[in-house]
C-alpha cells in the first residue's frame, strides 16, 4: 500500500505533490486579493461619480458593512419595558402596492438590531408573486429560536385598502399609511433629526412624496420633481448632510412613479447615490 502510493507520487498522476498544492493555493490567494482590490477600485470610481464622495471605499466592496445610522437610543428606552417577549412589528401590506420604503428601513434595522424577519400571506389574498415572498431576504439562520432576537419584523401580504402597522395592540391603535409607519421605523434607528426645523422639513418632504408624487396627477408629479431637483442642486441630500428618511421615502416614490431616466439631472444623480449606498438593493427586484 505504502509503496504503491509512493510510486504514484513519483509518476505525478496519482497523489498531488505538496509543493504543487502550496503553489496552487498561493495563486488562488493572489487572485482573490486582486479581485478584492478591483472591487474596491470599482467602488471608489462609483463614489467619485456621485455627490457622496466622502464615503469610505473599503466598505463598498462587501455591501454596507457598517451600520448606516449610529444613534444612541436603545430599544428599551424607545419602546418601553421589556416583557421578556419578542417585540414584533406586524405590517399588513397589499401585494398590489409593495411598501418599498419600509423594505429599505427593514434593511437598515437589520444592520442595527437582531431582527427576526418573516413574510406571510394572509388568506384574503390568493396568490402573491415570488419576489414579494422573498423581499425581506433569506431566512435568518437562527429563525427557529424567536427569543434570540431583539425585534420582529412580520410582513403580511393582505387585502387591505391602506397599509397598516400593528405593534402593541393593547396600548396602540393600528397605524395606517406607509409614511407614518416609515416614521415609526426610522425612529427605532435612533437617527431622527433632533433639530425641530430639520425634523419638520423631513416630514414635509415625506408628505409631499406620498400625497403629491405617489397619489397625485402628472402635473403635481412634475412639480414635485422640479422642487426635488432644485433642492438637490443645493445639497447632496434632502435634509442635512446625511441620508434621512426624507431621501428614502422620496426616492422610493420617484422609483415607483416611473423609469429613473425620465427624472431631472440632480434627481437622477441623487437616485444613483442612494443606490450606491446599498440600502435600496431590495427595492429594485420589485420594480419590474
Amino acid at each position: 500500500m505504502d509503496r504503491f502510493r509512493k510510486g504514484g507520487g513519483d509518476d505525478g498522476n496519482g497523489e498531488v505533490d505538496p509543493a504543487l498544492q502550496a503553489l496552487e493555493d498561493r495563486q488562488d490567494e493572489v487572485l482573490r486579493r486582486l479581485q478584492e482590490l478591483k472591487a474596491t477600485v470599482d467602488g471608489l470610481a462609483k463614489t467619485v461619480t456621485t455627490p457622496d464622495a466622502d464615503l469610505d471605499a473599503s466598505t463598498l466592496s462587501s455591501a454596507p458593512a457598517q451600520p448606516a445610522f449610529r444613534g444612541t437610543a436603545h430599544l428599551d428606552s424607545l419602546l418601553g419595558k421589556d416583557l421578556g417577549a419578542l417585540r414584533d412589528v406586524v405590517i399588513n401590506a397589499n401585494p398590489a402596492h409593495p411598501p418599498l420604503s419600509l423594505l429599505v428601513l427593514h434593511g437598515l434595522l437589520c444592520q442595527r438590531y437582531q431582527v427576526l424577519s418573516s413574510v406571510h400571506v394572509h388568506s384574503s389574498v390568493s396568490a402573491v408573486p415570488p419576489p414579494l415572498l422573498s423581499c425581506l431576504g433569506p431566512r435568518h439562520r437562527d429563525s427557529y429560536a424567536r427569543q434570540r432576537f431583539q425585534l420582529g419584523f412580520t410582513l403580511i401580504w393582505k387585502d387591505v385598502a391602506k397599509l397598516q402597522m400593528k405593534f402593541n395592540t393593547q396600548s396602540m391603535c393600528p397605524i395606517e399609511g406607509e409614511a407614518n409607519v416609515a416614521r415609526f421605523l426610522f425612529r427605532l434607528l435612533g437617527a431622527a433629526p433632533q433639530d425641530p426645523v430639520a425634523a419638520t422639513q423631513m416630514d414635509g418632504w415625506i408628505d409631499m412624496a406620498v400625497f403629491q408624487l405617489a397619489e397625485g396627477g402628472s402635473k403635481e408629479r412634475a412639480a414635485v420633481l422640479r422642487s426635488l431637483n432644485s433642492a438637490l442642486g443645493r445639497s447632496p441630500w434632502l435634509v442635512g448632510q446625511e441620508l434621512s428618511l426624507a431621501d428614502i421615502v422620496c426616492a422610493c416614490c420617484v422609483l415607483r412613479a416611473g423609469p429613473a431616466a425620465s427624472a431631472p439631472a440632480n434627481v437622477q444623480h441623487w437616485l444613483k447615490s442612494c443606490q450606491n449606498l446599498g440600502h435600496f438593493d431590495c427595492v429594485y427586484p420589485l420594480l419590474q
Partner: protein, 536 residues
C-alpha cells in the same frame, strides 16, 4: 191549589221539554239528512270525477321497488337544475320538503341533499283536479319521482337553492311514503339561532329544535341542508388531509384500538373485558405511530377512532372521536415536523375555501360566522411570548403555568387582533405540563420541544418531539412516577436504533367545528358519543 199549580207547572215543563226535544230531534234529523245528501253527492261527484279523471295514470303510489324492472330513465339531480336546462323535460327524484295547495294550484318544494327547487302543479290539460289534490295531500319527507319541464322564472325564488328555475310537473309518483307526523320539522331545525326567539317576542311563536331532540332523531336532523353541508365538508377535511400527506410521502397505517396498557395516564381510559383478562380502548395511536417510526416507516399517518373516558360534558369533548394522527422522523430540528403539519393544515384550509364554498355558505346561513383566516406560512409564537401577551393584557400567571381554557381563548383573541389569523402554533411549552415522552429543550431544561396548534382560540392539536433515547425516556418516566414495568415494551422499541421524530394528533370533529365557527362538537359528529349519550 198549590199542588195543582205545581203539577201544572211540572206538566208544562214536561211539555216544554218534550217540545224542545222534539225540535232538537227534528233538527238533528234534518242535519243527518243533509249530511247524507251531501255525502252522497260528494261520493257521486267523486265517482263521477274518478270516472272522468283523464290524468289517472299520471300520478299514484308506485309498488315497492323490489328491482322488478330496470328502467332506462335518467334522473337529474336537483343541484343540476339550472337555466341551461330550461324547456327540457326531465325526471327528478327528490323528497317533498313542503307542499302548499292554493285552489287549482299546488306548490311543492322538492329537496335532494342540500339543494331545493320549486315545483308547480296546476289544473290544466296536463293535470287534473284529482292529481293536484293528490299532490297536495302527500306527506312531507316522502320520496317521489317527478317528470317535469324546467321553466325559467322571472323573479328569483328566494326560498330555494335553485333560484332561477322551477319545475312544471307532468307526472308524480310516490316511491316511499313518509308517516304524516314527523318528530321534528326540518324548517324548525334550520332556523338561524336567535331568529326563533325574536319572532316569539314579537308574538308570532316559531319553534326551534333543541340539540337533544335533534340528536334523538339524528336521521331526520341529518337531512337538513346545514347537516348535509357540515358532513360533506368534514369528508373534505379527511380527503384533503390524506391527499396532502400522501403527496408529502407519508404512509397510511392502521393501528389496533384494543390495547393492553393505557398510553397517556390511566384515569381516562375505557376498560373492556377481553376473554379472561381486561383490555383498554386506545386513547391515541401514539405508541404504534412511534413503533412504526422505529420500524423505518419515516412518515406515517393514521385516521381512526380514538376513545377518551373523560366524564366531562362540555361543548368540545366527546368520548369517541375521529383522530387524524401524524408522526414523522426528521433530520435535525423538530420544526421540520411543525412546518410539515402546519403546511398540511393550510392545504386543508385552502382546499375547503376553494372547493367547499357552497357548503360553507349553507352552514353560514344557519350559523353565521366570520370566514376562517390563516397565514401562510403559519404563524409560530413561543410560549414565553404568549405569557407576555397575556400579562400585558392583565392576566396574572406564572411563567411555567399551563394555559387555562379561558386564557387560551383570550390568547386566541389577542393573536387575532395583532396578526388577524385564526390558526397559529404555540411552541416551547414548559416541560412540567407535558407528558413524560416529551423531549426537553436543550437550551433551557424548564421548557420542552412541544407545541400546540389553535383554531379560533381552541386547541386542536397537541404534539412534541418525542424522546427517542431509551435511557432518557426511562429517566423521564421515573421522574413522572410511572411504573416502568407497564411501559417496558414501549421503551424497549427504542433500544435498537430509533430516529429522532415528532408528531401530533388532531380531532376531526373539532377541526370541522372550529373551521365553520360552530359552537358544539356534537354538531360535527354524525352520531355523537358522550358520557350521557350512547344512541342512536
Amino acid at each position: 191549589m198549590t199542588k195543582e199549580n205545581v203539577q201544572g207547572a211540572a206538566e208544562e215543563e214536561q211539555q216544554a221539554q218534550s217540545k224542545k226535544a222534539l225540535k232538537k230531534q227534528q233538527k238533528e234529523a234534518e242535519k243527518a239528512a243533509k249530511k247524507a245528501e251531501k255525502q252522497a253527492k260528494l261520493a257521486a261527484e267523486q265517482q263521477e270525477a274518478d270516472e272522468d279523471d283523464f290524468a289517472k295514470d299520471r300520478y299514484g303510489i308506485c309498488p315497492m321497488v323490489q328491482s322488478q324492472q330496470k328502467l332506462d330513465r335518467a334522473l337529474v339531480r336537483v343541484q343540476d337544475l339550472t337555466p341551461e336546462k330550461a324547456e327540457q323535460q326531465i325526471w327528478v327524484r327528490a323528497r317533498i320538503h313542503t307542499s302548499r295547495a292554493k285552489g287549482k294550484q299546488c306548490f311543492l318544494v322538492l329537496r335532494h341533499q342540500q339543494f331545493t327547487v320549486q315545483a308547480l302543479l296546476a289544473v290544466g290539460d296536463r293535470a287534473s283536479k284529482q292529481m293536484v289534490k293528490f299532490a297536495a295531500n302527500l306527506t312531507k319527507e316522502s320520496i317521489i319521482d317527478v317528470e317535469a319541464v324546467v321553466k325559467k322564472v322571472e323573479q328569483k325564488i328566494e326560498s330555494c337553492s335553485q333560484q332561477d328555475v322551477e319545475l312544471h310537473v307532468e307526472r308524480i309518483f310516490v316511491i316511499s311514503q313518509s308517516e304524516a307526523r314527523l318528530p321534528l320539522q326540518l324548517e324548525d331545525a334550520v332556523r338561524p339561532e336567535g331568529e326563533g326567539d325574536e319572532v316569539r317576542d314579537g308574538g308570532e311563536g316559531r319553534a326551534t329544535v333543541n340539540q337533544d331532540t335533534r340528536l334523538d332523531n339524528r336521521v331526520i336532523d341529518l337531512r337538513t341542508t346545514t347537516s348535509q353541508a357540515i358532513f360533506r365538508l368534514q369528508s373534505g377535511v379527511c380527503q384533503l388531509f390524506r391527499d396532502t400527506l400522501i403527496n408529502k410521502g407519508f404512509v397510511e397505517i392502521q393501528t389496533p384500538k384494543i390495547i393492553s396498557a393505557a398510553s397517556e395516564g390511566g384515569a381516562n381510559v375505557f376498560t373492556v373485558s377481553y376473554f379472561k383478562t381486561s383490555a383498554y380502548l386506545a386513547q391515541s395511536p401514539q405508541l404504534y405511530k412511534q413503533m412504526c417510526i422505529c420500524a423505518d416507516f419515516d412518515k406515517v399517518f393514521c385516521v381512526g377512532p380514538v376513545f377518551r373516558a373523560e366524564d366531562s360534558n362540555t361543548h368540545r369533548h366527546l368520548t369517541e372521536f375521529v383522530g387524524l394522527d401524524i408522526e414523522m422522523a426528521f433530520n435535525y430540528h423538530y420544526h421540520e415536523v411543525i412546518d410539515s403539519i402546519t403546511d398540511t393544515m393550510v392545504q386543508i384550509f385552502k382546499g375547503l375555501r376553494d372547493r367547499f364554498q357552497t357548503e360553507i355558505q349553507t352552514v353560514n346561513k344557519q350559523y353565521p360566522s366570520e370566514p376562517f383566516k390563516f397565514l401562510e406560512p403559519t404563524l409560530r409564537l413561543e410560549y414565553k411570548e404568549a405569557v407576555a401577551m397575556l400579562k400585558a393584557a392583565g392576566v396574572e400567571m406564572g411563567d411555567e403555568e399551563d394555559l387555562s381554557t379561558p386564557n387560551e381563548k383570550l390568547l386566541g383573541r389577542l393573536v387575532k387582533e395583532k396578526y388577524d389569523t385564526d390558526f397559529y402554533v404555540l411552541d416551547k411549552y414548559p416541560l412540567a405540563v407535558r407528558p413524560f415522552y416529551t423531549m426537553p429543550d436543550p437550551s433551557n431544561p424548564k421548557y420542552s420541544n412541544s407545541y400546540d396548534m389553535f383554531m379560533r382560540g381552541e386547541e386542536i392539536l397537541s404534539g412534541a418531539q418525542r424522546v427517542h433515547d431509551a435511557q432518557l425516556l426511562t429517566e423521564r418516566a421515573m421522574h413522572h412516577g410511572i411504573d416502568l414495568e407497564k411501559i417496558k415494551a414501549y421503551i424497549d422499541s427504542f433500544r435498537y436504533g430509533a430516529p429522532p421524530h415528532a408528531g401530533g394528533g388532531i380531532g376531526l370533529e373539532r377541526v370541522t367545528m372550529l373551521y365553520l365557527g360552530l359552537h358544539n362538537v356534537r354538531q360535527t359528529s354524525m352520531f355523537p358519543r358522550d358520557p350521557k349519550r350512547l344512541t342512536p
